[in-house]
């Protein structure tokens, strides 16, 4: 049988891969998606805490596939494979990728974030570079993503809100817990502006997707109504409907074979049957989430590209970044409530949808402008097992019997914890990068990715200063046990960098359209292109940029054919 040559092969079906596939299939091109995970359909998802949150059912078993993490401990770099630590860097390996499991708090980057070096200047110890596109270049795609993903929200003018070409959101915000009235009141009293967080969640039915039913278990769970704007719902389903998409699930790409200028084929292994296959295409788009895309390119080294594909600059893997800062919270006690009826807090499932942008930029007239960050608010995750497990100690003593029963009863019925997360720039540095671990291999015999992780001291300083201000809001609201935790430990689900885009092939991996400088038929579509990440979670930007990249691939194909 003659091998099929697809127009485009996309590696990874998550936020970025799905958006590229959508653009190509709509334009009439034949696309194959190679996805290592299985397909779980909308009506197969459930709120099974044990399966989704406490076992590696939707991610690989860490003894089979893992990463090596390098952290600086007492001045020395210490390597630990994740099968030893249990700290998994897999975020959702099924069709639709991690986007199935996101909470969907969506933010655009600010125009300044595209020109950090020019506007804010060089920072010692950080490799800050401007983007080679600006906010106006990406704005139409932010808007397109809003409509296609189904982003709900409410736009209120704020000096640090990114400009919108259409003020009104695609859909009004999702329903909110009554606590927002108290939150807004307290913020106003403190002269802080509360903003409604945009969410990749439908507040109204649209087409085949139903509105959110406020299931109370959103982040870390697949969505059974289609309300969550995962890549599977927003892009892969409509792409399949065009008849132009072939979706190969359980198909792990081990490496790409290339000549000097062209990738010829992707080598896949079916992770159920162990059957090996070669997939041929005119163009290849790598969209495997930043760290795994880098690993795939490094593992595809050959005689033409001894240091990995698209790595003539030596920049591949460098400047890994995360969307992070710190977190904290405060607790409301039923027996100590004066500002709000406790029963209101116990309404199941409604969102908080509040964020604060007031400290995104520090713009005091007496000193140079500095970047700050964004704060996002949410209730403590409602997972029953994890809430109980986290309450099992008192003064380092394990509780059991009546003491435990009382603590759990109180925790579940008489308290509610409001959490916050701070997002500020994770400055790119020489001490935060991805390479391959020459000593350790996964079950397919391929070297695993090694992530060296370190944060710039500035990141911690900014997060700390913001946390102090947030705690004042919680205090004003009447919360008790207010805490914050600022650390250099990154969230493994918000990851970017490693394949910087840029105009200069000597200092970047891909060009401004995310096409490889070295290889003519290779694009990289996930967040690895980002030289800096702004002070926001990344996914709206990932969707927007992938829609842009998809359009670029269409243009190149149109010229070629």
């Amino acid at each position: 049988m003659k091998d099929i040559i697809y127009d485009v092969a996309i590696i990874g079906s998550g936020a970025s891969g799905g958006a590229v596939a959508y653009q190509l299939c709509k334009a009439g091109y034949k696309v194959v998606i190679l996805e290592k995970g299985q397909l779980i359909q909308r009506d197969e998802f459930s709120k099974d805490e044990l399966a989704y949150c406490r076992r590696d059912i939707v991610t690989p078993n860490l003894f089979d596939e893992f990463h090596t993490i390098e952290e600086k401990i007492d001045g020395k770099w210490i390597e630990t494979p994740t099968y030893q630590s249990g700290w998994s860097f897999w975020n959702g390996n099924i069709v639709g990728g991690s986007s199935n499991f996101m909470s969907g708090m969506f933010h655009r980057m600010h125009p300044d974030d595209f020109r950090l070096k020019t506007i804010y200047g060089k920072i010692d110890g950080a490799n800050v570079e401007d983007w080679v596109i600006n906010y106006n270049d990406l704005e139409p795609y932010y808007r397109l993503a809003e409509d296609l993903v189904g982003i709900s929200g409410y736009s209120k003018k704020h000096k640090y809100e990114a400009p919108r070409s259409r003020l009104k959101f695609f859909q009004p915000p999702t329903e909110e817990n009554n606590i927002v009235n108290l939150f807004d009141k307290c913020c106003n009293k403190l002269n802080i502006t509360p903003l409604v967080t945009a969410r990749a969640v439908l507040s109204k039915n649209i087409g085949k997707r139903d509105a959110c039913y406020y299931s109370n278990f959103c982040g870390s769970y697949g969505c059974s109504s289609g309300a969550k704007g995962s890549s599977r719902e927003a892009f892969i389903s409509p792409a399949l409907a065009t008849g132009n998409l072939t979706l190969l699930s359980n198909s792990h790409v081990t490496h790409l074979d290339s000549s000097e200028k062209i990738i010829k084929q992707a080598n896949i292994i079916n992770n159920i049957t162990n059957q090996k296959l070669k997939i041929y295409a005119k163009f290849f788009v790598v969209a495997s989430q930043a760290h795994e895309s880098v690993r795939l390119l490094l593992n595809s080294a050959n005689k033409f590209h001894p240091n990995g594909l698209s790595n003539s600059s030596g920049e591949l893997g460098k400047n890994l970044i995360f969307s992070a800062g710190g977190a904290g919270g405060g607790t409301f006690y039923k027996d100590d409530m004066s500002k709000i009826d406790f029963n209101n807090l116990m309404d199941r499932g409604l969102f908080i949808n509040r964020s604060i942008l007031d400290w995104y930029i520090k713009d005091d007239w007496w000193k140079p402008k500095e970047k700050g960050g964004l704060v996002e608010f949410m209730f403590e995750h409602q997972n029953n097992i994890s809430r109980a497990v986290n309450s099992r100690y008192k003064d380092n003593r394990l509780l059991w019997g009546e003491e435990l029963a009382k603590k759990l009863k109180d925790k579940f019925t008489k308290t509610k914890t409001l959490r916050f997360e701070i997002f500020n720039d994770w400055l790119p540095t020489d001490d935060c990068f991805i390479s391959i671990d020459k000593k350790r291999k996964d079950k397919y015999g391929m070297p695993v990715g090694k992530l060296r992780i370190n944060a710039h001291p500035k990141d911690l300083e900014i997060a700390y200063n913001i946390s102090k201000k947030v705690k004042i809001i919680l205090k004003e609201m009447g919360a008790k046990d207010i805490y914050s935790s600022i650390s250099a430990v990154p969230p493994q689900n918000l990851i970017a960098g490693g394949c910087r885009f840029g105009d200069n092939p000597k200092t970047s991996v891909i060009d401004k359209n995310c096409k490889s400088h070295d290889i003519k038929n290779l694009f990289i579509a996930d967040a690895s292109f980002m030289p800096t990440g702004g002070s926001t979670p990344y996914s709206w930007t990932i969707y927007a940029n992938a829609l842009r990249v998809g359009e670029e691939v269409v243009k190149v194909l149109q010229k070629k054919l």
């Binding site: 459930s46 709120k47 399966a51 394990l398 019997g401």
Partner: protein, 169 residues
């Protein structure tokens, strides 16, 4: 971070008929779980979740049956499984195999003594985590009998409920 450390300190982040499947003999035959290990873990769980508490009694929510079937499931971390078993052996040996015969006060003393060692406290914590999973996971896993764990804590699981254990697609 060392795995041993993590395993021990991690803070992680309509059955009806199915209960009958877990008769002791079936468990012993299927997993070759030693009876003394089974008995001591069961006894510890009953001490953790006693009969006269505001929470269901350990055997009401099938905590030992849940634990055995869970740690032998193919998706369960084999290092943790081995630790559950080896820790039980340590505890048996600390108390010369007599723990299960003690009265409540003596059990309390023995458990707190075991908790004083780092390995002991990690093992007790692991047994507690597995017991809490039994108490609060979806009833399809064989624990949380008639949602008694959720009812005791005035909480609920989410919808839709799982139709099979571990997304058996």
């Amino acid at each position: 971070m060392n795995r041993r450390f993590f395993i021990s300190f991690s803070t992680y982040t309509f059955i009806g008929a199915s209960n009958l499947l877990y008769s002791n003999n079936i468990i012993f035959n299927k997993f070759q779980f030693r009876k003394d290990i089974y008995n001591i873990i069961e006894s510890v769980q009953k001490h953790f979740f006693p009969q006269d508490s505001q929470l269901p009694f350990a055997s009401e929510f099938s905590s030992i049956e849940f634990l055995v079937s869970t740690i032998y499931h193919k998706r369960f971390d084999k290092d943790i499984r081995n630790f559950v078993i080896s820790g039980a052996k340590d505890f048996i040996s600390q108390e010369n195999g007599q723990f299960i015969n003690y009265n409540r006060e003596d059990k309390e003393i023995a458990l707190r003594k075991f908790e004083n060692s780092s390995r002991g406290s990690k093992w007790l914590s692991r047994i507690m985590i597995l017991s809490m999973e039994a108490l609060l996971s979806d009833p399809i896993y064989g624990g949380n009998f008639r949602k008694s764990g959720w009812i005791a804590l005035d909480t609920k699981g989410g919808n839709p409920k799982p139709k099979s254990r571990y997304i058996n697609l």
